[in-house]
C-alpha cells in the first residue's frame, strides 16, 4: 500500500481517460460532443474504434455532433446495484440515438424518470463529475501501472436535456 499522496475518493466510477476513450471525454470537457467519422466512407462511429468497422480504414477525424437526438430506450434503476449510485435512485439510464446515427449511453438530467418516453427529442449538455484521477475506477488504472494524467480541466460527461 504505497502512499501516493493522492486522495482517492470513493466517488462515482469515472472513465479512465486513456487512449481514444480519453480523447472522447476531452472533447466533452471542451463542450463539443464529438464522434469519430471515417474519412473514407464517411460513417460515424461510437464507441471509439481504431479502424472503421465498415471499410477498415485507418483514416478518421473527430467531428462535432449536432448534439441532437431522440431517446431510443432506457431503464430506471429503482434499487442501487452499485454503492456509488445508491443516493440517486430512482434514476434512468438512457440510450440516445443521435442525428448522426450513432447511439450514446447517457442520462436525461431534466426529466423525472417516470416521465421519460422513447422517441423524446433531447439535446446534449455537459456534466462535470470531477477532476481526473479521483474516480473509483482509477484504482484499476493505478494497478495497471498507469496513474493517468491529471493536468486537464476535469472529467465531463455528455448528458441530455429535453429539447
Amino acid at each position: 500500500m504505497a502512499d501516493s499522496g493522492k486522495k482517492k475518493a470513493a466517488g462515482l466510477p469515472l472513465p479512465l481517460m486513456q487512449g481514444l476513450h480519453g480523447e472522447f471525454y476531452r472533447h466533452c470537457a471542451a463542450g463539443r460532443l464529438s464522434f469519430q467519422r471515417c474519412s473514407d466512407c464517411g460513417r460515424w462511429r461510437h464507441v471509439p474504434r481504431e479502424i472503421c468497422p465498415a471499410c477498415s480504414s485507418w483514416n478518421w477525424s473527430w467531428e462535432q455532433s449536432s448534439g441532437r437526438g431522440t431517446v431510443y430506450t432506457y431503464t430506471i434503476a429503482e434499487r442501487p446495484m452499485h454503492p456509488s449510485f445508491a443516493e440517486r435512485c430512482p434514476y434512468a439510464v438512457v440510450v440516445v440515438e443521435m442525428e448522426e446515427g450513432v447511439r450514446v449511453l447517457s442520462q436525461v438530467v431534466d426529466c423525472p424518470p417516470s416521465e421519460l418516453e422513447i422517441g423524446a427529442a433531447v439535446t446534449v449538455d455537459y456534466l462535470s463529475v470531477g477532476p481526473e484521477g479521483t474516480g473509483a475506477n482509477d484504482r484499476q488504472g493505478e494497478e495497471a501501472g498507469d496513474a493517468g494524467a491529471s493536468d486537464s480541466e476535469g472529467i465531463v460527461l455528455p448528458v441530455f436535456r429535453l429539447a
Binding site: L12, P13, T75, R103, S106, L157
Partner: protein, 386 residues
C-alpha cells in the same frame, strides 16, 4: 458432428441460500464433477479434457484435485452464461477429433453466500469482453449491472412490439410452477401468483424482483465423450445432434447495435437446427437461459420458436408450461430452481431425455433444446436427443 458426441454423465450439488453451501468455490464444483462422473460410470482419472466456466476455476486446478494425470484438452469458452452450452459444441468437436476422450465441464459458484451480484459488478466489468467500454461509457452514467443492460433491450421490445409486464410475468410464473414439481429447486413450496409477481418491487424498470434470477449457491457438471465410447458407459447417452454458438455484433458494446434484438442466438440457432436436421417445432421442450424473464421471450423469438415480436404472446396461456406446446425450463430455471450459470439447464435437458425427471417429466421426450445467454448477448444452443 451430428450425433457423434454425447452427454454421458450429469450431476449437481444441492442448491441453497441462507447459510450457504459451506464449501469453497472449488469444492462445490468438485462435488458436482464427481457426481457427474459417477453418473457416467467413469473414474475421475479417465478425464483428459476439462472446460471450466470463465473466471470460476482452472482446468489445471480441477485436474490436480481429481487426479487427472493425462489432461490434454483444457480450454474455456469466454461467453458468460452462454459458456456451458457453447462448451458442449467445443467438447463435441474435441472428442470427435481425438483431442480428448472424456471432457468434463464443471460450473458453479457460491452466488448467494460468496460473491453477491452487487459486490462483483466491478470485478465482472473487468472480466467481460467489453469491460473497458462498460467502465468508461456505462458505469459513469450508472449502468452497472446485467439486469440494466438487458432491461434496455426489454424496454425497446415493449415499445416496438407491445410486450407487456403480464407477459414477462407469465415467464416467471411458468418457471415457478415447474419449481413446485422439483424438490431440489430453491423455490419449491413457494408458489407465486400474477398479483404477487406484479406487486414485487421494481429493480430496474421494466424488471421487477421476480423478473430476476435467483442468487444461490450450487454447482452442476456434465461429461461429454464420443458416441462410440458412450455405448460402454453406465447411462443412456444423450446425443448432441446440433450445437452452435455465436456473438452479437458488436459483442463488446450493447447499445449501438443496428438491430438491438439480434443476439448471438440469432446467428447460432439456424446453424444448430440445420446440423440436427430438425425444426424448432420438433422440440419436446426447451431449457432457455433465464437470467431475466424477457431474455426467455427474446430467445424464443431468436431461436425461431416464434417470429420476432410474437414472443410475448407465445409465453402466455400456459404454452411454455408442462403440458403446454413447448414446456420451458422444466426444472424451474435460474428464476426458480437455482442460478447454476446455465449448466443446470444442460443437466435438466439430459434428465428429461433420459426419462428421469419424475413428477416434471415431459411425456415421451425425445428431442430437446437448451440455450445459453451471456455477457452482452452472446448466444449458444444445443439440440439434444435420446
Amino acid at each position: 458432428m451430428k450425433d457423434k458426441a454425447c452427454i454421458v454423465g450429469v450431476g449437481a450439488t444441492g442448491f441453497c441460500r441462507g447459510e450457504g453451501s459451506g464449501k469453497s468455490l472449488h469444492g462445490l464444483q468438485l462435488e458436482a464433477a464427481l457426481t457427474a462422473l459417477a453418473d457416467a460410470g467413469l473414474r475421475a482419472g479417465q478425464v483428459d479434457g476439462i472446460m471450466p466456466f470463465p473466471n470460476l476455476g482452472t482446468a489445471e486446478g480441477f485436474a490436480a484435485s481429481l487426479g487427472c494425470e493425462n489432461l490434454r484438452f483444457a480450454t474455456t469458452v469466454n461467453m458468460g452464461g452462454a459458456a456451458p452450452v457453447a462448451s458442449l459444441g467445443v467438447a463435441a468437436a474435441a472428442v470427435t477429433s481425438g483431442l480428448a476422450d472424456y471432457v468434463l465441464m464443471p460450473a458453479g459458484w457460491n452466488g448467494y453466500s460468496g460473491s453477491r451480484a452487487g459486490a462483483i459488478v466491478q470485478e465482472m466489468t473487468a472480466s467481460i469482453p467489453g469491460g473497458a467500454i462498460a467502465r468508461d461509457f456505462y458505469l459513469p452514467h450508472g449502468l452497472v449491472a446485467p439486469p440494466q443492460w438487458y432491461a434496455l433491450i426489454a424496454r425497446r421490445h415493449m415499445h416496438e412490439y407491445g410486450t407487456t409486464a403480464e407477459q414477462l410475468g407469465a415467464v416467471a410464473l411458468a418457471m415457478r410452477k415447474h419449481a413446485q414439481l422439483n424438490p431440489a429447486a430453491v423455490m419449491h413450496d413457494k408458489s407465486m401468483t400474477m398479483e404477487q409477481y406484479l406487486a414485487s418491487p421494481m429493480i430496474t424498470d421494466p424488471y421487477r424482483l421476480f423478473d430476476c434470477c435467483l442468487e444461490t449457491d450450487g454447482a452442476a457438471a456434465c461429461v461429454v465423450t464420443t458416441t462410440e465410447r458412450a455405448r460402454d458407459l453406465a447411462r443412456p447417452p444423450v446425443y448432441i445432434s446440433g450445437v452452435a454458438s455465436a456473438q452479437p455484433y458488436p459483442a463488446d458494446e450493447i447499445t449501438g447495435r443496428e438491430d438491438i434484438f439480434r443476439t448471438g442466438l440469432t446467428v447460432a440457432a439456424p446453424r444448430a437446427f440445420e446440423m440436427a436436421g430438425v425444426e424448432p417445432a420438433d422440440a419436446d421442450f426447451a431449457q432457455v437461459y433465464d437470467c431475466f424473464t424477457f431474455e426467455v421471450v427474446q430467445q424464443l423469438e431468436e431461436a425461431g420458436f416464434c417470429t420476432r415480436g410474437e414472443g410475448g404472446a407465445f409465453v402466455e396461456g400456459g404454452r411454455i408450461e408442462l403440458g403446454g406446446e413447448l414446456p420451458v425450463n422444466t426444472h424451474g430455471g435460474l428464476l426458480s430452481e437455482a442460478h447454476v450459470l446455465g449448466m443446470g439447464h444442460v443437466v435438466e435437458a439430459a434428465r428429461q431425455l433420459r426419462g428421469e425427471a419424475a413428477g416434471r417429466q415431459v411425456a415421451d421426450a425425445g428431442l430437446g433444446v437448451v440455450t445459453g445467454w451471456g455477457d452482452f448477448g452472446d448466444g449458444s444452443i444445443a439440440v439434444l436427443r435420446n
